[in-house]
Amino acid sequence: MVLVVLRRLGVFATTVIVASVVTFLMLSILPGDAARIALGVQATEADVAAQATAMGLDRPAIVRYLDWFGHVLIGEFGTSTVSRQAIGPEITDALGITVILVLTSVVLALLFAIPFGILTAVRQRKPDGAILSGISQIGVAVPGFLAGMLLVTVFAVTLRWLPAGGWVDPGNDFGGFLEHLILPAIALGSVQGAVLSRYVRSSVLEVMREDFIRTARAKGLGAGRALFRHGLRNAAVPVMTVLGLQIATLLVGAVVIERVFSIPGLGSLLLDKVALRDLPAVQGIVLVLVVFVLLLNFLVDLAFTLIDPRLRSVS
């Protein structure tokens, strides 16, 4: 077990290093010289050369990479070529906001998808099951930004119960934080919840046909008890794969909702920095996003190992 975890950790660390190299190379290979981009098209050759030296661009690529990645490891992402300020704090702030938003929406999605998915599976042949299943089908088809705009129109503009956008730091005003969090989280989570409930449903349906559920029934467990005691853990395995992928997409995909609700999250920051051609910042944000996705994969793998004993033994 420990060995399996160590090995997965090793794989995780290796992929992070590879990802950092790829990120670094991609942005170095892109046409345009970082120094010239920073100074603009009017700058003289001499200014550009001086800027390049200041940014350390005259050093060999390998040295630049090691310097950059070494600093990233201790949380320093370098200095913005636009604002001339350290990029690190900006990224961490934005990341914090996005992570809170995404996690809240995922929790909401799960709270909806698990009972709803199980219900539609168990009531599959009954009329109510079919109707509920149809509703979730519609949910899948609605894009997140549309759900967001509808929510804003109803709850912020018409009813005036909740703010239409913006962000409040939970340390300053927790009540305000919740008020600002709730609509975007629902907008983001509703679509995910609908998708997830489809997966929960098909996974539960599949597991209900398994021989070991029949064995449980033959032991004298009722249909519901057999499903809860033996089915759900087995059904969780495929659902978790989808969940991991969904969270990964959300980290980047949250940008649309962040824009709709004017939330200063990581996606918004990335778009801003790309528009400003702030290469060091873009490089840092991309790396953070990639590492987060990899971290999620690692955690999902680990969760698999915890749930499924067949994955625990090394051989």
Binding site: T215, N234, S315
Partner: protein, 591 residues
């Protein structure tokens, strides 16, 4: 409950969907402590009978009639779900066929055994239940029961898992035990042990037993009385000895005749059951025979007779069935090792020995059987002979083509010379292809019209009408599909035919037909046959020579009759005694 009250009484049980009745009003009783077998072919309604008794029929099926347990309980068919939950696992228990999937893969087996006692509160607490579970695992003779209780199902073998199922079913001392094909998925030697265990346990406890199986030998081993099912009806009911020796119903007679691989007609073919679904080829008159020129060119072979040899423990490697000159197959010092996936972080992956130092010959025209249990290496050997896998070391020549290191281009000719028939007639045919395309696929550089003609002739040779060409595999029964596989294998006019468990998935009556067909075709096309199977009976019928393979080594090889009658190796002796002939069975039952 008076002693005369039957434990189970089924009256006029009908099961079906609104459109289709599957059980046509069957009635039977099982007395307390009686061991009854329920035998029939797939689709005859055996499993439906058991699931009706357990009240676990699929929602889409309706049952009428009455089922009484112990005479005191109200009709089980109309009983409430609550009442049924209290009876299931307590008064009546069931063991299912598939030991691989019948246990929850995420739960330790001890906990799964303990659960049945917790559900029915037959033990006071979790700890007592766990403790009892270990005792029960010991009762079903699992080695290291305390450790086994902590194992997950995937860490146990098939036989061990079936023992766990048995421990579970017997935990609350049920009055009725239902077993649905409990040993079908197990190796023969394991099957014999598990059957003996079931017999001993129910006899000790006086549990009534309903044992469902397609295999007469299983019934003969365990049961006192047998019910024979055919197309949703019970057609015969009587003591096992009487039914085996003097079957009354014509179906039973045919079933027993078809199961008996040692009894053949004057052409040396098995007795089959008339099955109106399949046209039997009219003496293969229309089938394409090898042309006269081919026959003239073929050298006249002296019949090769294998020496009967065994491998001695720690003795030198033996070349089995050695053929002077060029045989069809020549294998010398063949080893195949696999690296198991994984391994430690630093330690190398563990090596699994699939085959170790195997040497044998197969003469041209010989019918060579390879018998062994799962994991013995027989499938690895088959794959290498067909060049679907490469040897780790050693030399393998088939029809003069060396397999080791040969490229696919070099093997092109070989592929049409050596053809294979696989076990699973469901899985080995592409469901999206039409029969015509499946059978024609091995043909290369052949015009459309000629291909069409050859497919037609080949289908006729395996006893299928030409109009099946435009159908898809799912429209055929298992036996018909296996005929299609055989047609596909023979269309290239191969010289060597390799069959991997080719009849293992078929019902006995269909098995007899397919075996006869294979025997006919091998004669007709002068094939060299390599027949791989776990079933000694089938090999004995079809093959003149047999090699017994165990743990990656051939341990014994010789003329089939000689190996069967005078086994030299202890493993062969064990195998032979686990697969008795029909006469032997009748003798055992009566004695």
């Amino acid at each position: 409950m008076t002693p005369s009250t039957p434990t189970l009484s089924v009256k006029d049980l009908r099961v079906g969907s609104p459109f289709n009745e599957l059980l046509h009003g069957i009635s039977f009783e099982i007395a307390a402590g009686e061991r009854v077998g329920l035998i029939g072919e797939s689709g005859s309604g055996k499993s439906l009978t058991a699931t009706s008794v357990m009240g676990l029929l699929p929602e889409t099926l309706m049952a009428t009639g009455t089922i009484n347990l112990n005479g005191i309980d109200a009709d089980l068919l109309t009983a409430s779900e609550r009442r049924l939950n209290r009876l299931r696992g307590n008064t009546m228990a069931m063991v299912f066929q598939e030991p691989m999937t019948a246990l929850n893969p995420l739960m330790r087996v001890g906990a799964q055994v303990a659960e049945i006692m917790m559900v029915h509160r037959t033990e006071r607490g979790r700890r007592q239940a766990r403790q009892r579970a270990v005792e029960l695992l010991a009762r079903v003779k699992l080695p290291n029961p305390a450790e086994a209780a902590l194992a997950f199902p995937h860490q146990l073998s098939g036989g061990q898992r079936q023992r766990v199922m048995l421990a579970m079913a017997l935990a609350n001392d049920p009055q009725l035990l239902l077993c649905d094909e409990p040993t079908t998925a197990l190796d023969v030697t394991v099957q014999a042990e598990v059957l003996k265990l079931i017999g001993d346990l129910v006899t000790d406890r006086g549990t009534a037993l309903l044992l469902i199986t397609h295999d007469i030998a299983v019934v003969a081993e365990v049961c006192q009385r047998v019910l024979v099912m055919y197309q949703g009806d019970i057609v015969e009911d009587g003591p096992v000895g009487r039914v085996l020796t003097a079957p009354q119903h014509p179906y039973t007679r045919k079933l027993i005749a078809a199961s008996d691989l040692s009894s053949v007609d004057d052409r040396g073919r098995l007795h089959t059951m008339s099955m109106p679904v399949i046209a039997t080829p009219p003496a293969a008159a229309s089938s394409p025979r090898p042309s006269q020129a081919d026959a003239a060119a073929a050298p006249i072979l002296l019949p090769h007779r294998a020496a009967h040899q065994r491998l001695e423990q720690g003795g030198p490697p033996v070349i089995f069935n050695e053929v002077a000159g060029a045989g069809a197959i020549r294998v010398r010092g063949l080893s195949r090792q696999y690296r198991r996936r994984g391994g430690g972080l630093f330690a190398p992956a563990p090596i699994v020995h699939g085959l170790r130092e195997v040497s044998f010959d197969v003469a041209e025209g010989q019918r060579f059987g390879i018998v062994g249990e799962s994991g013995s290496g027989k499938s690895t050997l088959m794959r290498i002979l067909c060049a679907l896998d490469q040897p780790t070391s050693g030399a393998v020549d088939v029809l003069g083509q060396s397999i080791g290191g040969a490229s696919e281009r070099q093997l092109r000719d070989f592929r049409s010379q050596v053809q294979i028939v696989f076990q699973d007639p469901m899985g080995s045919l592409d469901p999206r292809m039409k029969v015509r395309d499946i059978v024609a696929e091995p043909l290369h550089h052949v015009g459309r019209a000629e291909a069409q003609a050859r497919v037609e002739a080949q289908l006729a040779a395996v006893g299928l009408d030409a109009d099946v060409m435009h159908r898809h595999p799912h429209q055929f029964s298992g036996g018909q599909r296996q005929r299609i596989s055989i047609a596909r294998a023979l269309i290239t006019r191969p010289r060597v035919l390799v069959a991997d468990e080719a009849v293992s998935a078929l019902d006995v009556s269909v098995r007899a037909q397919v075996l006869n067909l294979l025997a006919d075709l091998v004669d007709e096309y002068q094939l060299t046959l390599v027949f791989v199977s776990h079933d000694l009976g089938v090999i004995r019928h079809l093959c003149d020579t047999v090699a017994v393979i165990s743990d990656g080594r051939i341990v014994e090889c010789g003329p089939t009759a000689s190996v069967y009658d005078r086994p030299l190796h202890p493993y062969t002796r064990q195998l032979v005694s686990a697969t008795p002939s029909m006469d032997e069975l009748a003798r055992r039952v009566i004695a």
